[in-house]
Assembly symmetry: C2
Homo-oligomer: 347 residues x 2
């Protein structure tokens, strides 16, 4: 895949983020016995000891790409930077125990501002029982960067990958979808209003839920705790960071199956629907392509139907099919609409 | 330490990098049993299994701060980003086994340029037997950003911290010092020459060693292998990333001891001396404050004198004293000069 000769210059736009990750993944298949699973799932899986695997995952947040400091309090940003990484450890059915943070800042930040960021980090660490064990700090010539690596553990017989979905599995999701994107739309709209008239104060009260979902996401620790308490292990799992569309496609591609998602089963909060209407957009776009919900998408055998019904805050939204049937949304009118990945197109 | 009220605004300049790290460290003392050692050494130490600890370390490289793409080939940059992190695992007397990479790039990079970077990463991974197991990629609004996290293992009875130095220990260092900074000076000088007259091609042949030390550092795997083969464990160890001054001060502060470094024992390459003369600078400045040598600084009991003499490529440069005697350079003329940390003042 990688070549040592620069004979041409291809724009990154032609690959996109997923294309670039695929390209890297193909060049770095694991070579050493310590690596159980390398690139390609929510977290890498490494040999731990006789009973546990070590999990490791990293994510970066870049100012101007992933967050806008004009409406993101630094304390919330510190919280979010931690929990989006913990979410990846939970998505392997694991328990996080440590994080490291690389922080790039420029000198417009005061010591007090950095303290605010780390207060958010500290609250997240305490809430989810992880230690911040290392990091690096540097100035940047541009905006703020945050790179967080999360480490965790999972019992060897309890690890859940993206590739375990089986035909007829039920497709389940926690909470509701599209709310984080709805919050993003509201914050962006109020920012424009403020820029046009700085005397108008934004009134976000009627959007408190979706704005909170954008600024202060909650990872699915309760689901993982429920699984452990009830000795239940799903067949496949992934956290929803890029939107339902790309996540179900990841599960189907890696499990070599197809899927049907029922449009009328997709859990949506009333505020999300309200924002979509105000934006004159389809709620499906919010749920499928919005991203940043950090809900959990997982599949279970159809025999677990009654068990899944007992899990708090979980909806059954579809089922796994043969690969040949593709990955489709079953619309409210009953027609099949192929699901396509949008993901992030940063480049 | 952290306060929740922004009652004042203190410039980051007043803290500097080390001050900021101290401030973060004090707010994040480990709270959970899984963490053996948190912030404050080359790598964090986590519970692995009955026999091994898990080591984790992260470092970031920022364009315009840590590297200049006008003279840094991307392949070399990929290599360097990996090995500076592996160096931290070796500095705990550990063996690295996996890395993750967060990469921030903007759309002036072509796919082929990114390939070049990952070819360097791949060569480093193969050379030191580690797998790239995960990562994240994002666009940036500014320059390039690389955050690498390295994971490794060390037998529980073999881990070496910065805090184990004892009075009368011999202070030892691998290789030679200041060469990476000498290479940096040459590359910066040739860049200026080129900017003033683009028709002049730089002739770096007579500086090949120091330029190589800057662009393609080598971590001290041979030293760690020697320790393991000879069942030898130093009392304290740190890798030289910021320069001899700050590293010996780290060891002395954490071990609660003082030190004397003999100026005439500091290993210097002839090219480093030549560059220092050309720059009309003291070679001590190169060795003590230059940084990026990635040599290993370690202390051993005085009874290990004959053993240390057998280690290839190691110099004894001083000895550990009582804390009250301070940390001093013994000049060639015999006078004591207090050693002060410069480190990086990015902010």
């Amino acid at each position: 895949m990688l070549t040592d000769k620069n004979i041409s210059f291809t724009s990154l736009d032609t690959l996109g983020e997923f294309g670039l990750i695929d390209r890297i993944e193909k060049s770095f298949t694991p070579k050493y016995a310590n690596t159980i699973k390398g690139i390609g799932d929510d977290a890498a899986v490494l040999q731990g000891d006789d009973h546990f695997y070590t999990l490791v995952s990293c994510d970066m947040l870049v100012e101007g790409v992933h967050f806008d400091l004009s409406y993101t309090p630094l304390k919330h940003l510190g919280w979010k930077a931690v929990v989006v990484n913990l979410s990846d450890i939970y998505a392997m059915n694991g328990i996080p125990n440590a994080i490291t943070i690389c922080l790039g800042i420029n000198n417009r930040f005061s010591v007090e501002a950095i303290d605010e960021f780390y207060i958010g980090v500290e609250i997240a660490c305490r809430t989810f029982a992880v230690d911040l064990v290392g990091g690096d700090t540097s100035t940047t010539r541009g905006g703020m960067y945050i790179g967080v690596t999360a480490l965790g553990k999972v019992e060897k017989n309890q690890v859940v990958y993206r590739n375990g979905a089986k035909k007829n599995d039920l497709i389940c999701v926690t909470g509701d979808l599209g709310a984080a994107y709805a919050g993003f739309r509201i914050l962006e709209r109020e920012k424009q209003v403020f820029l046009e008239n700085p005397n108008l104060q934004p009134d976000l009260a009627e959007y408190d839920y979706v704005v909170g979902r954008q600024l202060k996401p909650h990872p699915q620790i309760e689901l993982i705790s429920w699984f452990k308490q009830n000795n239940f292990i799903p067949n496949a799992m992934i956290d929803i960071s890029d939107g339902l569309a790309s996540e179900i496609l990841h599960i189907c591609k890696q499990s070599n199956v197809g899927a049907r998602i029922m449009e009328d089963k997709i859990p949506l909060d009333i505020q999300t629907q309200k924002v979509a209407m105000e934006c004159k957009m389809d709620t499906n776009t919010f749920a499928f392509n919005g991203g940043e919900d950090y809900e959990m998408l997982f599949t279970v055998p159809i025999t677990a139907h009654d068990t899944v019904k007992k899990i708090p805050n979980v909806s059954i939204i579809g089922y796994i099919t043969d690969k040949e049937e593709g990955v489709n949304l079953v619309s409210k009118q009953g027609s099949l609409v192929p699901i396509q990945a949008q993901g992030w197109k940063h480049f």
